[in-house]
């Protein structure tokens, strides 16, 4: 099966991190929350730095020097943490973008998160740029003049801004404006933008696992002690800096100004931004058919509302006069067509209405609960091996039909989360010796929570639960990406061997009883 090279590269990196951090702490599964954690580090260190900082042209540099050299053990470390956490954010955000791009999670119903994410990156960059101004050293001077040149290239300023940065023209008022922007205006705007960015998601997490957060913090702290952030020489508007050690995470555009006219730099940056913004429609992706509610089979329990990863379901008062208080409503424009809601609906139980078509409270038109039951029954009936296993998979993980053989049959769902736990029991009842559930890699579901909800349902900690009577020895969960066939195959063989032993033991018991 062809996997594009970018995705293959990403999956290889993900595998390496799974080996190093485990699936729970894998930073690639927590890039968003890790970025939020870094923001907290930046915020707390920034508040600390604001106390001794002197917000004037004459005093800014001296106060930063005092923090760096006189109080190096506290304010100096805070300054370094502030800078390095800011640099780390750029890496985590770029990796976040790369991940979504590589795994195709930026198109279709995800266009909103992508389009609101791109300007957030620019806000982070501009926030960092104004931060560099406040030190008021040679680098700040370079950044200030470069920024003013860029602004002046726009028709609204037309040359008025750069004149602030000639000797004798710079005023405290302008400096304080930048301070205000960096300390209040830009962070508030960024947090507002991030709030919009996650608006179409439910159960949004903003804290990474404790171990990952601590590891990152300790690493940043270590770097702050080993290589403390320092300033250049103080700014002097009558002298041009000759050599600068620039922060490439934030200031990478400025060296371009040495070789290109300002307008060309604008064309490049706005062009790249525009291209990124329209990426979800190059070409457009059509989502699957949206979930449909059947009130005749819905009691308004709200489990689908709890499980929907994209906030596409709401609960409202009953409208059909039935005896229940509530009903659920699907908002098609928000629905990702993942089918997780169908898996959470207690009415999706395949043991219901065994002789007629299975109807459930919320269903996917392209793969109904009845279709899942039929496919499972057909898969079991098609096997005639010694130990027969049904493998359930999803559209975004490994294609389970690659295992199809005399003793193995795949049933491909939209998402592993759309499988009601009772379907596992149904497969065993139909005659399968074992059931394996794959799906995306653990903690990295294409639809956010599909494999997580499945695992929790099987463990009995999330409704609808896998009932106690289901023989756990015959059920195995092993998530995996498209490139993980060998790993899953290995586990499938081990599972088959285990099932063979169980079968043999059961046969001997039956024979002994018969004797």
């Amino acid at each position: 099966m062809l996997v594009n090279p970018v995705k293959r590269a990403y999956l290889a990196l993900e595998s390496w991190f799974n080996v190093s951090f485990g699936t729970e702490w894998n930073p690639l599964y927590h890039l968003g929350t890790l970025s939020f954690f870094l923001f907290w580090v930046i915020l707390v260190s920034g508040i600390y730095l604001f106390i001794p900082f002197h917000g004037s042209l004459a005093g800014a540099y001296e106060s930063v020097e005092y923090m760096t050299h006189e109080q190096w053990y506290m304010a100096g470390v805070m300054r370094s943490l502030h800078r390095y956490a800011s640099d780390a954010v750029v890496i985590t955000v770029l990796l976040h973008m790369f991940k979504e791009l590589a795994s195709g999670r930026y198109r279709g119903f995800r266009w909103f998160s992508w389009v609101t994410g791109v300007p957030s990156l620019w806000m982070i960059i501009t926030l960092g740029i104004t931060g560099y101004w406040l030190v008021w050293d040679e680098l700040a001077q370079y950044v200030a003049v470069g920024s003013a040149r860029l602004m002046d290239a726009l028709p609204i300023f037309s040359g008025a801004m750069t004149r602030n940065f000639v000797a004798g023209e710079m005023t405290d008022r302008f400096f304080i404006l930048i301070e205000f922007l960096h300390l209040l205006g830009q962070p508030l705007l960024l947090f507002f933008m991030l709030w919009i960015h996650v608006k179409r998601m439910s159960n949004v997490e903003i804290n990474p696992p404790f171990g990952l957060a601590m590891g990152t913090f300790i690493a940043l702290l270590g770097l702050s002690f080993v290589k403390p952030a320092v300033s250049h020489a103080p700014a002097d508007l009558s002298v041009m800096p000759q050599v600068l050690n620039i922060d490439w995470f934030y200031l990478n555009v400025y060296p371009l100004l040495e070789i290109w006219p300002e307008k060309q730099v604008w064309i490049l940056t706005t062009g790249v931004t525009f291209l990124l913004m329209i990426l979800p429609w190059l070409p457009p992706k059509k989502d699957g058919l949206k979930a449909v509610v059947d009130l005749d089979h819905c009691n308004g329990c709200g489990l689908c509302f709890d499980d929907c990863p994209f906030d596409a379901i709401s609960v409202q008062a009953r409208t059909d006069g039935a005896k229940f208080d509530n009903e659920v409503v699907v908002h098609p424009s928000l629905c990702a067509a993942c089918g997780i809601c169908a898996g959470s609906c207690p009415s999706s139980n395949p043991f219901r209405s065994a002789r007629e078509e299975l109807k459930t409270g919320i269903d996917m038109p392209q793969l109904t609960a009845n279709d899942m039951r039929t496919k499972t029954a057909e898969a079991v009936a098609a096997m005639d091996g010694e130990v027969n296993i049904v493998v359930f998979g999803c559209e975004h993980g490994l294609n389970v039909h690659r295992f199809d053989s005399d003793d193995t049959r795949g049933v491909r769902l939209i998402c592993s989360g759309m499988m009601p736990p009772t379907l596992v029991e149904y497969a065993l009842k139909q005659g399968a010796d074992g059931v394996m559930v794959t799906g995306c890699r653990h903690n990295d579901c294409y639809y956010r929570f599909g494999n997580r909800w499945t695992r929790l349902r099987f463990e009995g900690s999330r409704k609808p639960i896998l009932r106690g009577r289901a023989d756990r020895r015959r059920i195995r969960v092993h998530g995996g990406a498209e490139t993980d066939k060998k790993k899953i195959e290995k586990d499938l063989n081990a599972f088959r061997a285990q099932l063979a032993e169980i079968k043999q033991a059961e046969t001997s018991v039956t024979e002994q009883r018969a004797e």
Binding site: F17, V19, S20, F21, G22, W25, R83, Y84, D87, A88, I91, Y142, D152, S158, G159, A160, T162, R163, V166, A167, E169, G215, T216, I218, A219, L220, G222, L223, V226, K227, A229, L237, S238, V239, M240, P241, Q242, V243, L244, N245, I246, D247, W248, F249, Y254, P255, E258
Partner: protein, 173 residues
């Protein structure tokens, strides 16, 4: 035995994490300050022209006749009518006989009645030069009506500022 194996695995995992964090921090370490950028060669300086200046009115103010004043409402009777449009500002900078800047800047605004903001910066070799600057700020005058020339001596990395004051003329500092 199994416990020992799990312990070894955990130690190995922490070791791998330490390697990953080190690589992450090394990336930050390097790109936070490197590679450095050379803005100016050791023997270079910068000449920067920066000032704001409003060009002369395109047409002079005109005294209104009694008849014209009588036609106006009483609260709008001003003795003089001044057209708002200003002249473009043409500037030419010459260094050692070579023209390094020559532009005509149109006044901004819907009625072209604003002052122009002039900013231009150029790297030049440090040392002695002969510098000339000329400006025309009136369409009613032929040629340049403001000129200045002098020998300059710029230190390496110095920003030589060219300013203009309506009363004092060009100021080189």
């Amino acid at each position: 035995m199994e416990k020992m194996h799990a312990h070894q695995n955990r130690v190995l995992r922490y070791l791998l994490q330490a390697i990953n964090y080190t690589v992450f921090m090394a990336l930050i370490w390097y790109f936070a300050t490197s590679p450095s950028v050379r803005i100016l060669a050791d023997d270079e300086a910068v000449i920067t022209m920066a000032f704001a200046h409003a060009g002369d009115l395109r047409e002079p103010c005109r005294k209104l006749s009694y008849e014209e004043l009588a036609k106006l409402p009483p609260n709008m009777r001003k003795p003089e009518e001044c057209p708002r449009e200003r002249s473009p500002v043409a500037i030419e900078m010459v260094l050692d006989g070579e023209t390094i800047y020559s532009r005509s800047l149109n006044p901004p605004g819907l009625y072209q009645d604003g002052g122009v903001d002039v900013y231009y910066s150029k790297k030049i070799p440090a040392g002695k030069h002969y510098f000339e600057i000329k400006m025309n700020d009136s369409v009613r005058v032929d040629g340049f009506n403001h000129t200045h020339e002098q020998e300059i001596n710029v230190e390496p990395a110095q920003i030589l500022l060219v300013d203009f004051d309506s009363e004092k003329g060009f100021i080189i500092q």
